[in-house]
């Protein structure tokens, strides 16, 4: 008697359809093998917010009675496979207040597998992923994260490629042939079946030993009892802001201590302070209040608060003053302004390199215009719903 649980950790809204497709695909394929299952999104993530980390689950058991053990739950206690649909989530996810940054492998079982869609190497990803006490496997499905929106889905086959990968790392759950049958039935697409088979063959799996990975501490928390909680549904407001770094000049907003938004971010603004005209727009138009105002009138991104929406880049009137750069280029939430103040030349060099590296990559955070996804898929040589 066995129950298998799989989680998909994904970017809210951008990957909602993708994660749903994956988990439904698992349950429908399991059905082909006479197993029963359930697919559900983590209730607390709904309503989803663009980019805010969310989870979707599939639980499969041999029979109905066994499955019931796993029903009426928000989240399985542990999973056989964690699928990380965007590698910038490897550093951890903060979905709500209070719980802090939770490790991507927090629920992954001993000897379980973490599948990541990524163009990075396992070693590079392990710099981000929290270390564990027990061994597990890291599987990389090579490719960029697939993002689209609520209404228009970018069908780049990421969903079925992940199903193919799953057949490889957890054959006991469902075999490849059952996935292929389910995919054929669901999408009536031979091309998608081919994609699933190809990813099954090409998947790269690397065992991870205990102690390998990032030494960043795991966030732990306690939930107070009702006697300790303030009554009348009251919480204290955020403290008032003060001068930049506590000094007299500039301004640094007070910020919530129990919810930071940076794990929502896939890109961050990088600033060329030397061409900034201090026009205020990045600061003024930021929905997340993430720019600290320096005493000399420049704007420093508070990278704990920034969720990477990119509005600042869009409103900045100076070309190349603000550039959105992928999170894979960063390891922590350092202050660009502090670095610039300490070592102007070093900052200039870094800025040059990083913006050049970024210009080769395309931002993909949802729709820019109708027909965009078809154009992108055609350019990548993959037609939508190609059923040959």
């Amino acid at each position: 008697m066995t129950t298998y649980a799989v989680e998909v950790v994904y970017r809210g809204v951008f990957q909602k359809t993708l994660s749903r497709n994956i988990c439904r695909g698992i349950v429908l394929a399991a059905h082909k093998e006479g197993k029963v299952g359930t697919a559900f999104g983590r209730y607390g993530d709904s309503p989803e917010r663009n980019g805010v980390p969310a989870k979707y689950f599939a639980v499969v058991a041999d029979d109905r009675i066994e499955l019931e053990e796993s029903l009426a739950k928000y989240e399985p206690k542990e999973v056989d496979v964690t699928i990380c649909a965007d590698d910038t989530l490897c550093r951890g996810l903060e979905s709500w207040g209070w719980y802090g940054l939770q490790a991507i492998n927090a629920l992954t079982k001993e000897n379980g597998t973490l599948i990541v869609t990524s163009k990075q190497t396992p070693e590079s990803l392990l710099e981000d992923i929290h270390r564990t006490d027990t061994p597990y496997n890291l599987a990389i499905l090579s490719g960029p994260a697939s993002f689209s929106g609520l209404w228009v889905y970018k069908d780049d086959h990421t969903d079925v490629r992940i199903l193919g990968a799953l057949a490889k790392v957890l054959p006991g759950l469902v075999g490849l042939e059952s996935y292929c049958q389910a995919i054929e039935e669901q999408w009536k697409s031979g091309a998608k079946v081919v994609s699933a088979r190809r990813s099954y063959e090409q998947l790269h799996v690397r065992p991870v030993e205990p102690g390998e990975g990032s030494s960043a501490p795991r966030f732990s928390f306690e939930k107070p009892g009702w006697e300790e909680m303030k009554e009348a549904l009251v919480v204290q407001g955020v403290a008032k802001g003060a001068g930049f770094r506590g000094g007299d000049g500039g301004f640094q907003a007070g910020r919530s201590e129990v919810f930071k938004k940076f794990s929502t971010r896939t890109m961050r603004p990088v600033i060329n302070f030397e061409i900034c005209t201090k026009c205020t727009l990045c600061w003024l138009q930021c929905p997340d209040t993430c720019f600290d105002v320096t005493p000399d009138g420049l704007y420093d991104v508070n990278t704990e608060a920034c969720c990477g929406c990119g509005v600042c880049e869009d409103v900045c009137p100076v070309p190349d003053c603000i550039t959105m750069v992928g999170e894979e280029h960063f390891k922590d939430n350092f202050s660009q302004y502090d670095w610039y103040q300490r070592d102007k030349e070093g900052y200039r060099q870094w800025l040059k390199g990083i913006t050049a590296a970024q210009s080769a990559q395309k931002r993909s955070h949802g729709l820019h215009h109708w027909g965009q996804y078809q154009e992108e898929l055609a350019a990548a040589g993959r037609g939508d719903n190609d059923d040959n």
Binding site: R49, V52, G149, G241, G250, C286, H365, G366, L367
Partner: protein, 332 residues
């Protein structure tokens, strides 16, 4: 009761540095409604109480123990932004006049989304505007759907938009055929003792902050309706939130205006359009940027454009009110 005398902010460089709505919310990337709230309290200042109706700006803003609010804030029910404003202002007035609380002008701002203002709460907002003795502002942030509950059509959702209650399907391409607009002018018409009504858009942040200041300074109940691009429900890259707000104004789809003591003026690009100094941009540019209209045919685009054209070409007050004066017709 006196009000705080909030001076107009002359230029973005003079915008107050202090923040009273700050990080700590878990709204979508590029959430323009969050920006509206930030600008709203930035303009209002520290001696302010804010009441917030159920909606994105409740659920996404606060997750227990976390809050983005520096000023005192309290939740109110979906349909009670007007009642929350009235109740808070009345409580403060009574306590101050009876000497039970230090007498000082405190700003009271109550906000609601389009679900809470265009739909359910309209009657309570109307009632709140009938009390000249209470100073408060009701701010309606309009992202054109019940975005919090999963993007369901509201009275404010545009014609044809894809929502979870109006999905395009095999039999019917267009499920939402309603067109309810201009809540601010609807309210302005019936509440002659309320001194200030305005529309705003966070893409024009200085204009919005100054409108909030005017509304709070002038006294009595006031109303502002903002137009907030919503990357989630409208389906576009969050980076373009600011740009889409401007596109809507420049296409004449959203009209920037204010009415002070009965005098109506157009603001910003809307003024240029109304005075003929600027042509409206075609709405197709705006529609094509959003997934919620991706099912539109050429015919749908033409219909949509025609609706906007009618607002500007046929209405008594172009873009704002369809009321037309006619003294020549036969007596009924």
């Amino acid at each position: 009761m006196t009000t705080q005398q909030l001076r107009p902010i002359r230029g973005v460089h003079n915008a107050p540095l202090e923040e009273f709505y700050t990080s700590g919310h878990r709204t979508c990337q590029g959430c323009e409604s969050a920006l509206v709230l930030r600008l709203m309290v930035k303009a209002a200042g520290p001696r302010t109480i804010v009441l917030g109706s159920t909606g994105c700006m409740y659920v996404a803003n606060t997750t227990y123990y976390s809050t983005p609010w520096v000023v005192p804030w309290m939740h109110t029910q979906l349909g009670s932004s007007g009642s929350a404003a009235t109740g808070t202002a009345a409580g403060l007035k009574a306590l101050m006049q009876k000497g039970k609380m230090r007498d000082e002008p405190i700003n009271v701002i109550s906000f609601c989304g389009d679900g809470g203002g265009v739909d359910m709460g309209l009657s309570a907002i109307s009632a709140s505007l009938t009390h000249p003795e209470y100073n408060h502002l009701v701010l309606l942030y309009d992202n054109e759907s019940y975005a919090n509950t999963d993007i369901q059509a509201s009275g404010s959702s545009p014609w044809g938009a894809n929502t979870t209650f109006s999905p395009p399907g095999r039999e019917r391409r267009i499920m939402n055929t309603r067109w309810k607009k201009n809540t601010a002018i609807m309210l302005a018409h019936g509440h002659p003792k309320s001194r200030y009504f305005a529309t705003g858009c966070p893409s024009y942040s200085l204009d919005l902050m100054n409108k909030v200041r005017k509304a709070l300074t002038i006294g009595g109940p006031t109303f502002i309706h903002t137009f907030d691009p919503c990357p989630k429900g409208w389906d576009y890259d969050p980076k373009y939130s600011h740009e889409l707000g401007m596109m809507a104004v420049e296409a004449g789809l959203w009209v920037q205006w204010e009415m002070e003591d009965g005098k109506l003026t157009y603001n910003g690009p809307s003024r240029m359009i109304a005075t003929g100094r600027r042509k409206r941009r075609p709405v197709v540019e705006y529609l094509k940027r959003q997934g919620r209209f991706a099912h539109f045919t050429e015919e749908d685009i033409a219909y949509f454009q025609a609706q906007v054209d009618e607002m500007w070409e046929k209405w008594g007050t172009p873009g704002i009110s369809s009321v037309k004066l006619d003294l020549t017709g036969d007596r009924a």
